[in-house]
Symmetry: C2
Subunit: 469 residues, 2 copies
């Protein structure tokens, strides 16, 4: 017997739940199918537990500047790793519980199991077959562990297992220094572990700007061993693991593999849709509608391989839900790019990256001598803003800076609104704040622009603002 | 003999130095006259030393959440107050030195002494008489100590003397809970002092919004004794001071008086200008030119009584300098209002205040349950945004919130650019960040606005953004 519904959603993660909210506004005739465990990647194994671990690590690391402030006894502080991890899980359980509420009351419309497409309108869910007018696929992604390393068993950690540890060993390797790898490597180092970090590339945390990448490398290298351009092999060595690379080897107790996430599409039946699939088995998805070609199938979140970060997954689920319920395509404009890595200094990219822009104006500030940064003992960082040479329109920015997440949002609003350096310099900037550093960078851009004519001076806020120092 | 110069500037503080920068672009024929001590209010006794003290106090206070994070031994941390104060002075001296560079190389054009107007074109500086085509007055302000309390001698502190202390006593009273009073009361409490804070009004830190004022009172009351609506008397009592008010009395060792600052105009000769003066002896100053009536005298910074905060003083010096050098008035648009108090939670007002707006839409977020705030153990705060009922244009905001200074700047840019709640909701907001709290408040506003029609949906970013949750 084939069951029929108007809309079937596969995946109860961030994208699936966002789609569900839109679908429910229009119909009760839906199912949402989810493979265990429930709880979004973000709440269960991603953003939330990682940030909770980082907060504890930073709290312990704060002891290193206490003597400078005039505080004694910091050498007697110790960290109770099992207690740190227990807190991470306690808060994580709270966040997961919050997410579960979204599906708790759905009764039979909430189906637990693995869903597989059988053509564009049908899902096989174990023994059941469900036919749907529209299908929204949001099965998410999973950490990649290269096959050769899977034999190493429990000594290989991913973000799926890291936060489940009851304790942590003395020495850890971190393979992959993208956002997750950098965040966890630094946090574990700040919790007192000996950390060896590796990446095959020459930059970390997704940074494109060479100057910022270099500053970040300098900063992180003070806290853990950073090996870039290093392709590693892992092998069992006694109770631990030997990491070898061109030019070196080191022994660690466990290895956190953070080399990326793979879309959960291996057994999704995408090949039954009759559309071309790429080498990763992914179909082409329209980023403004989330629809796969002209099929009744939409694909949102990490699974489509486009932009695996929470706020984009949420937007995509929303767009997919709207389009599942609309007779005509709803084409939505997507947001400007933004990524943040929550290490110290915080790393962010907003808008276009340095390597995507030709011949722009660049404004920069070094936080080493910035007033507020010095007061806070956080005077390490660099921010670079890229602006159009013609009119000073801000095109993008990268930074590794104190309060970087906040500077990134300010820049994000400026870029999303197509503002120029002059425009932003009209805002009030208080004193003493880190935003004064951003102002320094914007003034450099403003100074490189053609000045307003003297006769226009009275109406020409920007020139005046630019002239202030 | 009367010396003649093109421009004379009185005061080498933030406003005077900003004016100097503009004047020097046009002429070398100037003098700048400054009464000792040199160094701006900000660097010497204001923003910088206070923020340095606060940073140390917060670093020590961080011990109170260490056990929650899983860190042991926080009960063994002690604070060395003389060391804290020594660091404050060390950094302050650095900041002052930076400021002194602006006048160091001026030679004879830098005059140390008290300047007094003798008519609109003349300054008496002790034995000298200087005639100037234009005069810029920027003599600053000084802490007010009511006459009745001046007999209490060294046990009365102001920000002029607080940072000069070699040590601090066990008990301190803080009279006046505006920005400075609140900042110092909390910082001293966090350094382990028993603090008793008093204000004659019913709100603190310049907050107008009753809900935020109440939350701030609740929060600060956990750290020190807060007495609002309390008019106090001080009297010598043994080695210390007795503070009495309607309904109570308490003994403290010293009292920090933070009841406001008085413009340094008592002996400035303003009465020789032939323009009307108000009850405080202040002339009317055009805020867009900084000129006093149609005289050749301009007045910038704290001394004009308008807006005694650094970034405004800097703007005013700039405007005064431009106008001193320009044959025609240069009328400059001023910035939207912004004030920040660097207590915890940080307090800020941006744009119009609640009591200045009739019938607006209000969006609000309570940080008690906000994800990132919980992760950081900083989940205490409230943010309220006021927007126009017609179109959702953001008019103002007040907040007492974690990372409040940064949220204030984001709102500052939005308000300075006349953005609506819909406009701001188009920006990327990462996860998990405190800016998501601001988004919650903006979505409340967006939901109260007329929705876009369904047929416009595809082009109607705002509705979609608003609908996300």
């Amino acid at each position: 017997m084939i069951e029929k519904v108007d809309v079937a959603i596969v995946g109860a993660g961030t994208a699936g739940l966002a789609a569900l909210r839109e679908v429910r506004k229009e119909t009760d005739d839906f199912v949402i199918v989810n493979k265990r465990p429930y709880g979004t990647t973000c709440a269960r194994v991603g953003c939330m537990p990682s940030k909770t671990l980082i907060a504890a690590a930073n709290a312990f690391h704060a002891r290193t500047s206490m003597a400078t402030f005039g505080i004694d006894g910091s050498d007697r502080l110790t960290v109770d790793i099992p207690a740190v991890l227990a807190r991470v899980r306690r808060l994580r359980d709270d966040f997961v519980e919050g997410v579960l509420k979204a599906t708790d009351e759905l009764g039979e419309r909430d189906i637990s199991g693995h869903a597989r497409l059988d053509g564009p309108n049908t899902l096989d869910i174990e023994d059941r077959k469900i036919e749907a007018r529209q299908i929204i696929l949001a099965p998410g992604s999973s950490p990649i562990v290269p096959k050769a390393w899977q034999d190493l068993g429990d000594d290989i950690l991913t973000t799926d297992t890291l936060f489940e540890q009851q304790d942590l060993p003395r020495r850890i390797g971190v393979i992959g220094l993208g956002a997750i790898g950098v965040e966890m490597a630094q946090a574990l180092a700040r919790l007192g572990l000996e950390v060896h970090g590796f990446d095959g590339g020459d930059k970390m945390a997704g940074i494109a700007d060479a100057k910022i990448a270099e500053l970040l490398r300098d900063g992180l290298s003070r806290e853990f061993a950073v090996h870039l351009g290093a392709n590693v092999d892992l092998a069992r060595a006694g109770d631990g693991i030997e990491i070898t690379w061109d030019g070196g080897r080191v022994f660690v107790d466990k290895v956190l593999v953070a080399v990326g996430r793979r879309q959960n599409v291996a057994d999704l039946g995408l090949e039954t849709l009759g559309v071309p699939l790429d080498d990763n088995g992914l179909p082409d998805v329209d980023p403004q509608t989330m629809r796969i070609g002209d099929t009744p199938v939409l694909m949102a979140g990490d699974a489509n391989g486009a932009n695996p970060i929470l706020h984009e997954a949420s937007d995509e689920g929303h767009i997919a839900g709207l389009n599942a319920m609309s007779p005509d395509p709803e084409r939505l404009e997507r947001r400007i790019p933004m990524t943040i890595t929550f290490c110290t200094p915080q790393v962010a990219s907003v808008g276009q990256k340095a390597d995507e822009i030709d011949n722009c104006l660049t404004g920069e500030v070094d936080f080493a001598t910035q007033g507020r940064a010095r007061v806070m003992q956080e005077n390490f960082g660099l921010l670079r803003v890229y602006a159009a040479r013609a009119d000073g329109r801000i095109l993008g920015a990268e930074l590794a800076a104190p309060a970087g997440e906040h500077l990134a949002h300010l820049l994000g609003l400026a870029i999303a609104r197509d503002l120029t350096a002059h425009d932003v310099l009209r805002m009030p900037i208080y004193h003493p704040v880190l935003e004064e550093g951003l102002r320094t960078a914007l003034r450099q851009i403003a100074k490189a622009l053609p000045p307003c004519s003297v006769s226009d001076l009275a109406d020409c806020g920007p020139l005046h603002v630019e002239a202030l120092e």
